[in-house]
Symmetry: C2
Subunit: 229 residues, 2 copies
DNA sequence: AAAAAACTATGATCTATATCACATTTATAG
DNA sequence: CTATAAATGTGATATAGATCATAGTTTTTT
């Protein structure tokens, strides 16, 4: 983890909707209580169970949010920037209830929790934007949950591939940022099942695989598989 | 659905943490933009897909939050009062992304969305409490999701029974507020599997069943089953 | 460059739970 | 009070995907 440290929120080009509504004085408060950091692939941004006094703002890269379950670690969601993560730590116990790990080189700003809270208290528009953001996450997660529960593995894998192409990489060809094992934790399947399902997609001409590079060539079919579950 | 209509937030004894921090003027705003309603068992409080200009505050009773999935309706969570539901409709489209249905006689206050938003903008403490509440929901839902995914049916059923006893009814004996079919939608199982699992619990002396009345008599064992999945 | 570790591939088998089918009981409505 | 619908109980069967086993491949470390 590299620490460029000092950041300048006034000139930052990747500001969140929430920060966008802050006035000059509030930007100053933010700026002096905010530190930038860069994480490499597979570096932990914060760890479930550890105390935290920061909210993280993911500026670039890709992050997995994951949590220990009764039998194994599970990836709750992939977070694409720009996005706040770890807001629930503003709550009483200040303990991270889940972990966040970079899946590719990722830049993050850490905002002191008390500063974040101050901004919420001070600026209603800021609070409102934060609420919007959390609510959006909530709805997305509900959808994902239901899909995970009701679709079978091919549908879930198609969902994941389409998500990566359309929401993360904005291209039908991309380097898979997750190992099969991680992909399994994400779509709730075993490593073996992921491998088999990918092989199946490959055999059926829906995707092309060269090393980690994947191309969605039968996107219409993938969409159909995603729909039918 | 009965409509007592006019409510008095100042004298209300079941106020949320959020409303607790409002000043006199804000309470007046709230009071004049708030209507009470009573719902019977199985009455819909709001419907997925329909436009809404209200946030609902559940004062008493029990509510299921459910949503259509690719293959069937799924119960995302059971909400015990006091709790706001439907906050995500403050978002752009103002469409309910899920349904809410009363599982027993339930009293609800509807707050005009724009008023809710006004209060967020005006009073930082209010916004902060709202954020706390949403975040708490988020964490609870993460836990539930992971449990649903990783435990098998006996563990999931044990979870549900323990939740009803400990969090909803505060008693080890209670009337099951859900049909086996609903319980299936909640713990992600078929009606038949729920019946079988309940029979098993009964046969093993973990629960006692008389009509809809259920008694958890082997709670330590249920806890063990919940833990082991 | 060699050794170790992590990841991927694929077959054989097993199992939890869905699905289907039908009977019985309990609620609701006329 | 009877008819009709909804909910529950239980067996037989099917199956998606887990688990186990073993081998090959790629990546990382020394």
């Amino acid at each position: 983890m590299d620490l460029p440290g000092q950041v300048n929120c006034e000139t930052c080009t990747i500001r969140s909707c929430a920060v966008e509504v802050l006035d000059q004085q509030e930007l100053d408060i933010l700026k002096t209580n905010c530190a930038g950091a860069v994480f490499d692939r597979n570096e932990r941004i914060f760890q479930q169970g550890s105390l935290s006094s920061n909210i993280a703002y993911v500026k670039t890269g890709l992050v997995k949010i994951h949590k220990n379950g009764p039998s194994k670690d599970q990836i709750l969601k992939l977070v694409k920037p720009p996005r706040f993560i770890g807001i629930p730590t503003v709550l009483g116990d200040k303990v991270n209830h889940y972990s966040a790990t970079a899946l590719m080189p990722t830049t993050v700003c850490f905002i002191v929790t008390s500063t974040f809270k101050t901004l919420i208290m001070r600026n209603g528009k800021f609070a409102n934007e934060v609420i919007n953001s959390i609510c959006q996450d909530e709805l997305t997660f509900y959808d994902r949950s239901i899909n995970q529960m009701q679709k079978q593995i091919h549908g879930r894998l198609a969902d994941a591939l389409l998500f990566l192409a359309d929401e993360i990489f904005f291209s039908d060809t991309f380097d898979l940022p997750l190992s099969h094992s991680d992909l399994g934790d994400y779509i709730h399947a075993t490593r073996e099942s992921v491998t088999r399902a990918l092989s199946r997609f490959k055999a059926d001409g829906l995707i092309q695989v060269k090393g980690h590079r994947i191309s969605l060539i039968g996107k219409d079919m993938l969409l159909k598989i995603s729909k039918l579950g």
